[in-house]
Symmetry: C3
Amino acid sequence: MIILFGVFIRYNEESDPHWSEYRRAKNISSDIENDFYFRYPSFQDVHVMIFVGFGFLMTFLKRYSFGAVGFNFLIAAFGLQWALLMQGWFHSLDYTDGKIKIGIENLINADFCVAGCLIAYGAVLGKVSPVQLMVLTLFGITLFAVEEYIILDLIHARDAGGSMVIHTFGGYYGLSISWMLYRPNLDQSSHLQGSVYHSDVFAMIGTLFLWMFWPSFNSAVTDHGDGQHRAVINTYLALASTVLTTVAISSLFQKHGKLDMVHIQNSTLAGGVAVGTAAEFMLMPYGSLIVGFCCGIISTLGYIYLTPFMEKYLKIQDTCGIHNLHAMPGVIGGVVGAITAAAASESVYGTEGLINTFDFEGDFKNVAPRRQGGLQAAGLCVAICFGVGGGIIVGCILRLPIWGDPADDNCFNDEPYWELPDDEESIPPILQYNNHTHNKDIVESNFTVEQNSR
Amino acid sequence: MIILFGVFIRYNEESDPHWSEYRRAKNISSDIENDFYFRYPSFQDVHVMIFVGFGFLMTFLKRYSFGAVGFNFLIAAFGLQWALLMQGWFHSLDYTDGKIKIGIENLINADFCVAGCLIAYGAVLGKVSPVQLMVLTLFGITLFAVEEYIILDLIHARDAGGSMVIHTFGGYYGLSISWMLYRPNLDQSSHLQGSVYHSDVFAMIGTLFLWMFWPSFNSAVTDHGDGQHRAVINTYLALASTVLTTVAISSLFQKHGKLDMVHIQNSTLAGGVAVGTAAEFMLMPYGSLIVGFCCGIISTLGYIYLTPFMEKYLKIQDTCGIHNLHAMPGVIGGVVGAITAAAASESVYGTEGLINTFDFEGDFKNVAPRRQGGLQAAGLCVAICFGVGGGIIVGCILRLPIWGDPADDNCFNDEPYWELPDDEESIPPILQYNNHTHNKDIVESNFTVEQNSR
Amino acid sequence: MIILFGVFIRYNEESDPHWSEYRRAKNISSDIENDFYFRYPSFQDVHVMIFVGFGFLMTFLKRYSFGAVGFNFLIAAFGLQWALLMQGWFHSLDYTDGKIKIGIENLINADFCVAGCLIAYGAVLGKVSPVQLMVLTLFGITLFAVEEYIILDLIHARDAGGSMVIHTFGGYYGLSISWMLYRPNLDQSSHLQGSVYHSDVFAMIGTLFLWMFWPSFNSAVTDHGDGQHRAVINTYLALASTVLTTVAISSLFQKHGKLDMVHIQNSTLAGGVAVGTAAEFMLMPYGSLIVGFCCGIISTLGYIYLTPFMEKYLKIQDTCGIHNLHAMPGVIGGVVGAITAAAASESVYGTEGLINTFDFEGDFKNVAPRRQGGLQAAGLCVAICFGVGGGIIVGCILRLPIWGDPADDNCFNDEPYWELPDDEESIPPILQYNNHTHNKDIVESNFTVEQNSR
């Protein structure tokens, strides 16, 4: 990695000490117009989403919090280095000297690229080894860069918040891998596949940071000025609307009208996913509310009906329910984006607005909005194909018996990969006790162990 | 809600694709002068305060963390949509076409508006149902918008950080509702009205995010340039000073000189409340320290003496002690603001500074600072009246027996409203045991239940 | 404090209401060029690192979370007031009227100054009283301001991210104090010197916020434009690289290849420390990766071999391992900074770049890069001397028996300083039971106590 960076990666003109000369040459009046000041606050928010948001969202399992946060940290830090290289080769290569010139926008895109793999991690959470995760990330980043190049640069679709390139791809990539790694005897670990009170509160940290900073996610790489401004407003409204429908549906479909923490933790975020592609378009505030409204319903019902169905009949074990949180809303987002783009008109956007928003320039200046709608739909198909196809291939690789994956009765457990503090080592005998060894002496000795370990 | 948004809400010129044409027409030199770049970082900080700050601050109860974070999330997401409409009608309505034009400043104001209701939630935490909370929020937002319109637009008081419009109003609104909903037999739930070790640590997450981002709260909607800069410095200093006095008073007045986590979690924030109105004025750094110093004392003593007194004699049960954290410091903030405004002089502010800071323009250009001081005081009275009056009316509505509020012995308990993980379902028998059923067999069976659920 | 602020501290021209006049006089075209908009997002990130990052990083102890977060809060809030004064006298004193003019950059520097003392707190965590901490902070801030004045203003070394002035100084200051306060019988508290499952997850909150916002830390006070941009890229890459080596080394050197949470929590941050001085220089992306790579190895091996060695043979008890996280990487950062500065050339930086980056102006314009390298090395020596010397002196003061420090068997325990919730008061009898009182009746009564307290 160091060698590759040494050969290929350099600072771009905005992060190079020649900036002040460049600035004068380009007639830029002030340091504040460095792209850094347009994008850095959004970048930091995205960074928080990747590391705290995704990391803590997955801590809900009672005994896999270390793995959730720790492996998330590991693969994100690995992935962003690899993403800078892969995305650089495809997007930022300067052909005059064969170098990749990086600036703040590349860092944001690397974080986006990593997000795709973290989504996939959600499907296989607790069932794979860290080595498998590294392999999943290595191939995932590579596929992502190719797919993004096809969708954004060849097809010329627009996808500011990545409903298609990030969420649809990441979702189906993870689901396909999980399908290939199906474990028929996973119920041996079922006593660990649940939450405890405080692990659910930890997961809410992840949920809230994702929810709050999603407007930054969708606006981070949109156009300066009105583009970023509009993307924030649309995402904010879609998310607010999703929360209400999620709570309503969760309460309606549960027995006794109680709320389920799983829905609150996950489905409330679906609106941000679904508004991703269209966030920079003129979706209008009520359009954002409608998107959020629908996604809250679909995502929550997905958790109630679809996830058990998929596990039972399609043999896809989806630990975090990424199909409901990322894959389905991502597809909805792609469709909404295509419709909104196809409906674009000069009266709504103005001539300059059409150019700024859709890059209708050069060869593409005469592309009608309708054609743009078609391109968006094509982009969505490419994302699904790459997700499913790539996931099956990588899943095959991960089935090789060389990666040290955990046994069926040791899934959702930090114990194989982490040095646990003493209070946790009292667990195995208690589990043994759970296995119906009703013996009072053992109860008391367990109790002694537990007391000792406090 | 979708229909109302469809009819009324549109993007403003800074978030509309015609921005680049507008910019050229107005001779604005760069995209970076879009209001978005002045306010977005502060907006995100305020957003964190609303969802993580207020949400986690209330997780201190041992068995009401889901309700604290989850219902906070729900009512905030609902409230901000309603606030965009209500505040839009009063403040941002474009009379040429009857539409509300929204931009980043409207999003910040909607978050502010929601803050008022979340403060009120603090007083009734654990004693109301989610439906009651929605009603409380619906009326609270409406009252807030009216009160804000009277104080800021009719009276022309200034209130950058909302000491009066947010904290004083929200505090007295919540206290009045709590007074109307007085429960004489609340001690039946007293075993749940306390914290455990880890729930106090969770609450510290809320405290710290509120504390750190309060400078953004007070500066988010102040004037560009020196106004935002000065508001940050004043708030930062007032908060730092409050921490020291809170720790000192807490240690002095507790037995054995021990610190009480309740004070550290709450009273340390009082300085930020009290400096809200005057943050953009020339309060001077030492003035901020004095305000913080006094508030730390008053707020901590309030927790030690006033809250028990209010519960016993005034029949106001204030779960989070919002009287000490929001109501009293808010009143102090209004008074400090009135004094600082009355003391404004051209020698300190400069002619332009007076115009920028106090909007002494048009009809009001000749208003002497002394009159501005009077207006500030009038604004404070309006805020208190709206808080107390509105709270009593809404409290009456909430006393109707149709809202599904929890029984006296089931307060401060997530169990009626949430699907709890298994480890919590072992609680009811243990509570039963707490109720003096000293029977060894039951103890052992409880123990078995608990072990099983881990 | 209030009096000192009243006498000395005023707003600077960018936070004063005369800003709009000043702006016109200086021909600054827009409010957005107020330094506030260059630095405020970074400031808030640094603020989060100080209060949430350092605070929660130290919550890993099973029974010292209140002390970690609470005392961190206390001394940071105290320290930043004192730092504004001390740094103001040395750096920002306006000799025309004898006042200190403060703006956003002073707030950032005050936070930096506090960071030095919080690092020192890491070494003595759990073994000192709050009064001792206040004394440690008072002297630490004072020493810091003098040392920073010598390094930055007299020697004219550059230290954007504070590898030398903050981390090296803070690290050796804390280690020297810990050496002076050596407790031979500390093993009486060894049952409390460990973590539990959830306390480790809390600590990960601190780790992640430090890790994510470190780019802001290193770029907060660098030059506008390319300087901030480059510092962010370098820090981001160094940190990403450190995570990978930390995980690899932790897994290689532990039995069974398991990961140790202590390393993940701490060593992953070492790269950000080590890249601090050189972050604004042309370290090049691969250079950042190399620095991060080396630091991950050294820091993790330090936790495995050096910390036990120091405790056993050098009588330095380093609770958080700050030697591995701050002191060693800080020294590495100083050396890297000296090398990078000495290698600076006009071909890489351009003439203006050299002036902007190294302030080669006035008397120093002809200073060759090689001489700058020597100055950097001299700065590093000054930082180490101040750290060790100051630590020994302050350690002597703290050994006086008047500060109320905890007994050897009561270290790492919140109980002496905090009102604990009931669930914790059941601990003493259980500990008593730990001390080998194997009596079944006591077991059962403990059990009863614990059940009652839930």
